[in-house]
């Protein structure tokens, strides 16, 4: 029996030692015998005990942990982890020790782990080389992307852009292309020419690199259409096969360069040949199908599984989960924190889906999930709710700062919404994209009407662009009455769109789209410019009337806003005190420091500042104290019921008292009846605005009102 055991242990490359004195580390050889054992323990003798000493420092250190095992009375064991021992004759042994307590005996097993070591080394070697390669690629791409954007965004007259671009991209180690908006013209570097070289015969035309990339995207990316129509950026992997001899894996980055009308003027395209990396990963099946960062299946693996589900013909739901504002998160906390977020995010989703479901990372901050055996919307919604609940809990940075993320989830059903993997991917991508505007957690199920609505939105966006160019906007003015002397001393500027077909469109019909598409900056600039002209005109007519301009969140965040304001004020030769900036509470709270800087500068040159829609948003009193403000505008929703609702009465009284304590004046919006006015007068409100006095009116009518007022006085 002992001889058989010995043979087995030798085959397993293990030896068993009995620990005779745990304090001194004295051991006695029991079983197992191989050549390596003598190299490790030259003094090994079946008859004698020996002490594990400094000759083997790792093992000596492990004895400290092992003692805790041997001191126990119940059976248990502890592994040391792998270590490499250099023997006296300079041989390397890859070993692991196991401390065992078994039936009151203290045992130490030493196992030669050469096979396991070699396997681990091969796998981790590959994985780490791949990680390093991606790391390098990422850094190079990031650097060049920033550099190119800064060049392309320079005013045309200030630089010889083409020459500068060509120079900058020429030295890049990977293919770089800068194409026009329709990809018709394109400059590219030598690396691009080499990468897409086809070795074609003389006199035959070679397709351009950009055309090859676009064709590959069209054929391999269900999201392609949406990316181009929404001017989005994309990065991912494409496979270029050109028989008989070309098979290249390309890592492509496609980034739009937009002008102030949010039109794409250029596309920057990066193409890196990652065939070697792919080849490395494909040597290991697990690595080829796995996302290295989150350890979830990757896009390639996901598409395979999705095809299988479609082929099986069983109903299921496909979800596309996109983390909102991930790029901003990366920029704010750094890429390492971004990676950490992705890993934890993946874990959180994984924890709530069933084992029969399939989850994968299909893009930078995008995950896709197949909910197997879910055939109705209610069951799908409840599964999604579980995910959202888990994602809504706070995340923590390495420095223990907590933050929240929100997601846009698109969902589509097989076979009701689409019957092919490609269409399903296209639809969930579109649904998730449509939900993004809210910046909150959103879940959108795909529907035909959504597709139509999405087209309508694009149409309005296009029309808005034309409207800016064709000067189709007009500023209406709504008088604001100073209660003290019952006269108009201010007007709120409100934009209207004179649509060529639909007539006058109010802001509700287009501002949200303008905000989402970035056109709000141009529209906002038009408003500022026009407001300055109006202030000038009124001033010349002898009216001392302040014009109040609404600022959207994007405008407040726009670094050029203040200099634009100053230029307009200068050009129209008005006193800055004739302008007032209106911002909503949410803008102040969302981006406190940016808002604070802007408003301070505005007040410094003499403009005033008011908080619009007060009471409907966050209503943080702390920012009211800190921010440079002049007026609070109480939202119309409180004024509506002010005569009958005791709560509204109390709120309005409290707001007025608080504002006065902070040296702020109060304007009540939406005043429509004498009773409302009387309450406000009795409670020392400073100004009022509403239909009781006037609707928003065109400039000519506003001047008429001012003239009438002048005549009465």
């Amino acid at each position: 029996m002992t001889s058989l055991l010995n043979t087995v242990l030798s085959a397993l490359e293990q030896i068993v030692l009995e620990v005779t004195d745990t304090d001194t580390g004295t051991v006695k050889w029991l079983e197992g015998d191989s050549e390596w054992t003598n190299n490790l323990f030259p003094k090994l003798d079946s008859q004698k005990t020996f002490v594990i000493n400094q000759e083997s420092p790792f093992l000596l250190d492990f004895l400290i942990d092992a003692r805790q095992i041997w001191d126990k009375s119940e059976n248990c064991k502890l592994r040391s982890g792998l270590w490499t021992e250099i023997t006296q004759n300079n041989k390397e042994l890859h070993l692991e020790a196991i401390a065992i307590k078994q039936e009151q005996r203290n045992l130490l097993v030493i196992s030669n782990q050469l096979e396991n070591f070699t396997h681990q080394q091969n796998t981790k070697q590959l994985a780490r080389e791949v990680l390093l390669s991606y790391d390098r690629l990422f850094l190079k791409n990031e650097y060049l992307h920033t550099r190119l954007l800064s060049i392309l965004k320079q005013p045309v007259e200030q630089s010889n852009i083409l020459a500068t671009l060509a120079k900058v991209i020429e030295n890049a180690e990977f293919a770089v292309l800068v194409a026009s908006n329709d990809f018709s013209t394109c400059i590219e570097n030598s690396a691009a020419l080499t990468l897409f070289e086809q070795g074609t015969l003389k006199n035959t035309s070679t397709p351009r690199a950009i055309d090859i990339i676009i064709k590959l995207m069209k054929n391999q990316l269900p999201e392609y259409e949406r990316i181009l129509t929404t001017n989005s950026s994309w990065d991912g992997e494409l496979c270029w096969i050109l028989p008989p001899s070309t098979l290249k894996w390309l890592k492509i980055g496609l980034y739009p360069v937009k002008n102030k009308f949010n039109d794409v003027e250029n596309w920057i395209v990066f193409a890196n040949d990652i065939s070697t990396i792919k080849h490395l990963t494909q040597r290991n099946e697990q690595l080829a199908l796995q996302d290295m960062l989150t350890e979830l299946p990757n896009r390639f693996s996901f598409l395979q599984v999705l095809e299988k589900h479609v082929a099986s013909n069983q109903p299921f739901y496909l979800l596309y989960v996109d983390i909102n504002d991930f790029r901003q998160h990366n920029e704010f906390y750094g890429h390492d924190e971004g990676d950490k977020l992705l890993i934890e995010f993946a874990q959180r989703i994984k924890h709530v889906v069933k084992t029969s479901d399939f989850i994968a990372r299909v893009g930078g901050d995008e995950f896709a999930i197949i909910l197997s055996n879910v055939d109705n919307k209610a069951a799908c919604s409840s599964a999604i709710q579980g995910m959202v609940n888990n994602i809504s809990k706070p995340f923590y940075t390495n420095k223990a700062e907590h933050f929240h993320v929100s997601v846009s989830i698109g969902a589509a059903n097989f076979p009701n919404d689409a019957e092919s993997a490609e269409e399903l991917m296209k639809f969930v991508d579109l649904s998730a994209y449509n939900g993004k505007a809210t910046k909150k957690n959103s879940v959108l199920f795909y529907s035909k009407s959504m597709k139509d609505a999405s087209h309508d939105l694009l149409k309005i966006e296009q029309e808005l662009r034309q409207a800016i160019k064709n000067n189709e906007f007009e500023l209406y003015l709504q008088p604001i009455i100073d209660i003290k002397d019952n006269s108009i001393n201010k007007a709120e500027a409100l934009i209207r769109w004179n649509h060529p077909d639909r007539g006058i469109v109010s802001p509700d019909g287009f501002i949200a789209i303008a905000e989402k598409s970035g056109l709000i900056i141009s529209i906002g600039e038009w408003v500022i410019n026009r407001a300055c002209q109006i202030a000038r005109e009124l001033d010349l007519k002898g009216f001392d009337i302040k014009i109040s301009i609404n600022l959207s969140p994007s405008q407040v965040a726009d670094a050029n806003l203040f200099s634009y304001l100053r230029t307009c004020i200068h050009d129209s030769q008005i006193n800055p005190s004739l302008l007032e900036l209106e911002v909503t509470e949410d803008v102040l709270v969302d981006d406190y420091s940016v808002a604070e800087k802007l408003l301070s500068k505005a007040r410094m040159i003499g403009m005033s500042v008011s908080v619009d829609d007060f009471g409907t948003g966050y209503s943080s009193l702390s920012y009211l104290k800190k921010l440079p403000l002049d007026y609070l505008k109480i939202d119309r929703s409180f004024i509506n019921e002010i005569v009958t609702d005791d709560n509204d009465k109390a709120i309005v009284r409290a707001v007025i008292a608080m504002a006065h304590n902070l040296n702020l004046c109060v304007i009540a919006e939406g005043v429509e009846t004498p009773e409302q006015l009387s309450f406000l007068v009795d409670n020392s409100c400073n100004s009022v605005q509403g239909y009781m006095f006037s609707r928003p009116v065109q400039l000519a009518y506003f001047i008429k009102l001012l003239n009438e007022q002048k005549n009465i006085n």
Binding site: Q54, T84, I343
Partner: protein, 171 residues
């Protein structure tokens, strides 16, 4: 003879093994071979007429495939956090490891900014330098490839350990 345990810590592929190889065997290999588990090398130095045997615990780099294990620091007289000057992320990872290590030991710690023969992709500005000087006992810009500062780093650490030992005796 005095014997001291020194641990080499850091993200994967920053050059921990190469630094040990350069110091112990005086050679450098361009081929990257990832370390698995722990490997212990020994080298005897003569410091102030005293022989000191350094046990160099070269640890597998930390990344998503291998998390940092504090227990290997047990009994360490000092440790070296190795970072790669061509990868900014390795510095952040190094600092994270240092923070974890500080929870279990107060022994001297060295920052080795390795691969100084290659073009740096990040630099410490003055204030960062100042900050790191406060959290590390010594800092070296090393190259396992050219050998720059490698010997000096280990010798300085040995001297520091000797000094600590003397102080211990005095106190």
């Amino acid at each position: 003879m005095i014997q001291k345990k020194i641990c080499l810590l850091g993200a994967s592929s920053v050059g921990k093994t190469s630094l040990v190889k350069r110091f112990v065997e005086g050679i450098f290999s361009e081929k990257y071979l990832t370390t698995i588990g722990v490997k212990i090398d020994k080298k005897t130095l003569s410091i102030a007429n005293k022989e000191m045997n350094l046990l160099l615990w070269d640890m597998e780099g930390n990344d998503s495939y291998n998390v940092f294990q504090e227990r290997y620091l047990r009994g360490a007289a000092g440790y070296i956090i190795v970072v790669d000057q061509t990868r900014a992320s390795s510095l952040l990872e190094g600092i994270d490891i240092h923070t974890l290590a500080r929870q279990v030991t107060n022994c001297p710690a060295i920052l080795a900014i390795n691969k100084s023969d290659l073009l740096a992709t990040w630099h410490l500005d003055d204030s960062e330098h100042q900050a790191y000087q406060n959290i590390f006992d010594l800092e070296f810009l090393t190259s396992a490839k050219t050998g720059k500062n490698v010997e000096q780093m280990f010798s300085s650490l040995a001297e520091l350990l000797l000094k600590c030992e003397k102080n211990d005796i005095t106190t």
